[in-house]
């Protein structure tokens, strides 16, 4: 019942500017085992963590400009865990020689009233999917191997079908803005996974 310390630094805009550095690739289902084997060898020595998440993508249509997108994710394996709300900014248009996609990232843990609350704010759910797979770590780098599944009936995560015959692989690092050595480390790690897997910088705008 001691008073918590009342000296927490106030959060002001721009004080915390985390950037996500991202490289993406994919492997066909047949190649999954070899990839997991290679990753177990290259990554930190710990049991890879399995996950099954349900992600909902919400859009807020404003008067002008592009709709504001938020991603809300919850774990199907740990139903009491908080929801994870994520905002990803526009990719930084920097020098082309930068090896990874860099974008501003805000991660918020939220209570279970999140979807209802987002609706009240004016957000509408655009689409949802289920992602199942494993997470590996190497230092600050995170490798996520996931199978994306389409949700057939909205809200029902039991009834799903795979979106493709492959697994999506993402190599990412969350770091404060301005750390350019990060993408170098990512590139050298990605080199070690070739030719099994080609991780590259994929501009999301090209896919729209």
């Amino acid at each position: 019942m001691e008073a918590p310390p009342v000296t927490v630094m106030p959060v002001t805009g721009g004080a915390i500017n985390m950037m996500e550095y991202l490289l993406q690739g994919s492997v066909l289902d047949q190649a999954l085992e070899s990839l997991l084997h290679r990753l177990r060898g290259l990554c930190d020595n710990m049991e890879p963590e399995s996950f099954a998440d349900h992600e909902l993508v919400f859009l807020l249509k404003g008067q002008q400009g592009n709709p504001f997108m938020l991603r809300a994710r919850r774990s199907l394996l740990h139903p009491t865990a908080p929801w994870h709300l994520r905002y990803l900014g526009q990719p930084e248009v920097g020098d082309k020689s930068r090896h990874a996609l860099v974008r501003n990232c805000v991660d918020v843990a939220a209570s279970h009233s999140l979807p209802e609350f987002l609706n009240e704010m004016g957000f509408r759910m655009d689409h949802e999917f289920v992602a199942k797979g494993q997470v590996f770590r190497k230092g600050a780098m995170k490798v996520v191997v996931s199978k994306l599944l389409r949700v057939l009936a909205s809200g029902n995560t039991e009834n799903t079908e795979p979106l493709s015959l492959s697994y999506l692989v993402e190599l990412s690092v969350l770091a404060p803005a301005g750390q350019d050595t990060v993408s170098e480390d990512m590139r050298s790690f990605a080199e070690q996974l070739k030719p099994l897997l080609h991780l590259e910088k994929i501009d999301p705008k090209r896919l729209m």
């Binding site: 918590p4 807020l60 008067q63 805000v106 939220a110 009233s113 999140l114 609350f117 009240e120 704010m121």
Partner: protein
């Protein structure tokens, strides 16, 4: 985390806000309560922009409580609430083209935190634009999470130092579906503060002789 009741205490006749607060502190110390640090609760208002003309803009309140320093609570009046971590404030900055911060509407209550056995009493001065507007008293009974089970005890305790200013059972507990037997969460405390801050804001508009 126990059952919390938040109420407003009127400023004593002929005394200032600070003097009334000091009187309450004295009463608590006479009872045997021990001072245990400070507390603050604040509330920021955001207007939703981009609504069709004629529709009143929805108000989103983002509140913080020193008791849970790493959390931010977001509420709509009479609507759903969200408990999130401190990064929610950073997200609101990103959303500034859709939700504008009404900076002049920030209300906060700051004061001393007292402990008396299983009770936590927080006497705060409510301030808006750095001028004192009232006094808030928060009483938390930490040993119980069901309002129905401990309300009588809390009322008796409050009467010992609030006298006639003792409030009735907060509406946030009576309006719950299961009645008096549902456990509380921190949203209940923040809803009560929100209601109190709303009252204080309106009082200010009435008193101000046309000057905002």
């Amino acid at each position: 985390m126990g059952v919390t009741c938040v109420c407003q205490v009127p400023v004593a006749e002929g005394k200032s806000v600070q003097q009334t607060v000091d009187m309450l502190h004295k009463k608590l110390e006479q009872l045997g309560a021990v001072k245990q640090g400070n507390f603050w609760v604040d509330c920021e208002t955001y207007h939703a922009t981009g609504n069709a003309t004629g529709q009143p803009s929805k108000l989103l309140y983002v509140m913080h409580n020193s008791e849970t320093p790493l959390s931010s609570m977001a509420l709509f009046e009479g609507g759903p609430g969200l408990t999130a971590d401190a990064n929610f404030d950073v997200l609101m900055v990103k959303l500034k083209s859709h939700f504008q911060n009404a900076k002049g509407h920030k209300v906060e209550s700051r004061g001393t935190r007292y402990r008396y056995c299983d009770f936590l009493v927080k006497i705060g001065t409510i301030a808006m634009s750095s001028s004192a507007r009232g006094i808030s008293v928060e009483v938390e009974y930490c040993a119980c999470v069901i309002p129905g089970d401990c309300w009588n005890l809390m009322k008796e305790f409050m009467q010992s130092f609030l006298g006639s200013s003792t409030p009735e059972l907060p509406t946030v507990f009576t309006s719950k579906a299961e009645g008096l037997y549902a456990p509380v969460d921190c949203m209940d405390t923040m809803s009560q503060y929100l209601e109190l801050f709303g009252k204080v804001r309106k009082q200010q508009v009435m008193q101000g002789t046309g000057v905002r």
